[in-house]
């Protein structure tokens, strides 16, 4: 016949201790979540600051459309004739590779 010993509960937690443990665990979880959201927030903040820098450069430009860039027009006149010309296709256009077929 099997014998069973009476063993007292190994971990005894009082109400106060339980509240303490939950509190500490909660604080740790909250810190983690805070750091993660903070990271994303900061990241967006510097993306926005850099983006503002770029828009500032656009705003202060005298010429703001590509087709009005005289230097580009001159380049086409002297060299590549016009967009999509034979020479432009050769130098400024490309083809893509289906990499799933490359072994």
């Amino acid at each position: 016949m099997a014998r069973y010993d009476y063993v007292e509960k190994a971990v005894k937690v009082s109400r106060r201790e339980f509240l303490g443990i939950v509190g500490v665990a909660g604080a740790i979880l909250w810190t983690g979540a805070y750091v993660a959201t903070d990271l994303v927030h900061d990241r967006n903040k510097y993306i926005k600051m850099r983006a503002q820098g770029i828009y500032k450069d656009d705003k202060k430009s005298k010429v703001r459309q590509s087709h009005n860039n005289q230097a580009v027009t001159d380049m086409y006149k002297k060299f590549a004739h016009n967009p999509l010309s034979h020479l432009a296709e050769e130098l400024f256009h490309t083809k893509y590779v289906n990499r799933t077929r490359l072994v």
Binding site: D42, N44, I54, D57, R64, Q70, F79, P83, T94, R99
Partner: protein, 418 residues
């Protein structure tokens, strides 16, 4: 290795085994699920899947992933070589970020200082913004040709299908080539601004502007991007050499010799003792290849290529300039942005509504758009895709931790002894 052409770089981003904490943060930013390793274990990059965007590198809280392609010493030796003409092409997003490496506020616009520093280091400049304007001419005309054919009923041969995708982002190109090759006919055939800068320098620049031999030019792409290093190594990009062969000149050289990231360029300035904060400003007014429009510079932001293309497409189709140049619907950090512009064709008098979409962050925002195009139900004519959230300003080659995105650096900053 699978999925690479000959000569291409097969490894750019590498995770240091000794430093990786296995925290899985990088996986949350990886657009192509190229990072292997369970939570808690050391991670590694699978180069056959990696598109080299470097988002893991700029977002790792411990700064573990490293850019393994370092060309700084090679560029310095070329700068000292009297025979060589070193031409740098500066991407738009570099001028608002390089200041951060020297203690300036993020977003400080330092174009003149950057030109000055490059001049002091010995570079000639072809601004990538110039070729960005040129990209709009090439890519925009391609798009307008398609619109005239499909929407306005004009006869044309050899036009690709709509919608057209932008082709400026090398990580997006590699992503499409690896994971959705059926969409490649939709890709604009125009090269990226950097890859246009290469052949332009070695043909027009060599003959007309600097008057040097094309083979003596050493072309350096200065980019906010690690995937550009891969793009420059693609074997088909030697069109300048092929052009000169038809003109009776021999020699074989790539269009872009090496690529430096924004971080690499800062390192180069430090090694050459160029003091970025006090360097004399320089505007390079007499150099035609350093002239750019506002449309060229906004390529660095998400929605920028689209906005620049709309400004020109509107003019080409209607014959009149836009009253308000800012397209606010395509600006900002919303995942997928869309806009439509109604234009009256000056030639036929017909009205056409151009529908466009802008997506950034392949990881989160792009897949639904791609599925629509695959199913043939996409309502758009032109779709801009940038791999990095926010566009090139947040590229994988940009300065890390400008405001303490690294948790460790953030903690260090508040410690009294640091």
């Amino acid at each position: 290795m699978k999925g690479f052409q000959s000569q291409e770089l097969t490894r750019i981003i590498d995770i240091d085994r000794k430093l990786c904490k296995g925290c899985d943060s990088c996986k949350a930013f990886c657009p192509s699920e190229a990072i292997e390793g369970k939570y808690g274990a050391v991670h590694r990059v699978d180069n056959e899947k990696c598109i080299f965007c470097g988002q893991c590198l700029v977002n790792c809280p411990f700064g573990v992933p490293q850019d393994t392609v370092d060309a700084v010493d090679q560029v310095i030796s070329k700068l000292r070589d009297k025979q060589a003409t070193v031409v740098g092409t500066i991407a738009p997003a570099v001028r608002v970020a390089i200041g951060e490496e020297f203690g300036m506020e993020p977003g400080s616009l330092v174009t003149e200082k950057l030109y000055g520093a490059l001049k002091q280091a010995g570079f000639k400049v072809l601004d990538t913004n110039f070729t960005a304007d040129q990209t709009i001419m090439e890519e925009g005309m391609e798009l307008i040709g398609k619109i005239r054919h499909f929407a306005l009923g004009e006869q044309a041969e050899h036009v690709g299908p709509l919608p057209q995708f932008t082709s400026c982002c090398p990580a997006w190109i590699r992503y499409a080539e690896l994971y959705c090759p059926e969409l490649l006919p939709h890709m604009s055939s125009a090269k990226s601004p950097m890859m246009m800068a290469g052949p332009l320098t070695k043909t027009y620049g060599a003959a007309e502007v600097w008057k040097v031999k094309p083979e003596d030019i050493f072309m350096v792409g200065i980019m906010p991007c690690t995937a550009k290093k891969f793009e420059a190594s693609r074997p088909e990009f030697n069109s300048a050499a092929r052009y000169w062969q038809t003109q009776g000149r021999s020699g074989d050289y790539p269009d872009i010799d090496v690529v430096l990231t924004t971080r690499d360029l800062a390192e180069l300035f430090r090694r050459l003792n160029v003091d970025f904060e006090t360097v004399a400003e320089f505007s390079d007014k007499d150099n035609p290849l350093a002239q750019y429009s506002g449309a060229g510079t906004i390529f660095g932001n998400t929605g920028g290529v689209m906005e620049a293309a709309l400004r020109t497409a509107y003019f080409v189709i209607t014959g009149t300039e836009l009253d308000v140049l800012e397209f606010t619907p395509v600006r900002g950090l919303q995942g997928v942005k869309e806009a439509s512009v109604t234009m009256k064709d000056a030639k036929t008098g017909k009205e056409v509504t151009l529908k466009v979409a802008v997506a950034h962050g392949i990881k989160q925002n792009v897949k639904p758009l791609l599925d629509e195009v695959k199913a043939g139900t996409s309502p758009y004519h032109f779709i801009e895709v940038m791999n990095c959230p926010g566009g090139c300003v947040n590229g994988g080659g940009q300065p890390i931790n400008p405001m303490g995105t690294s948790w460790l650096d953030k903690a260090k900053a508040v410690l009294p002894w640091s």
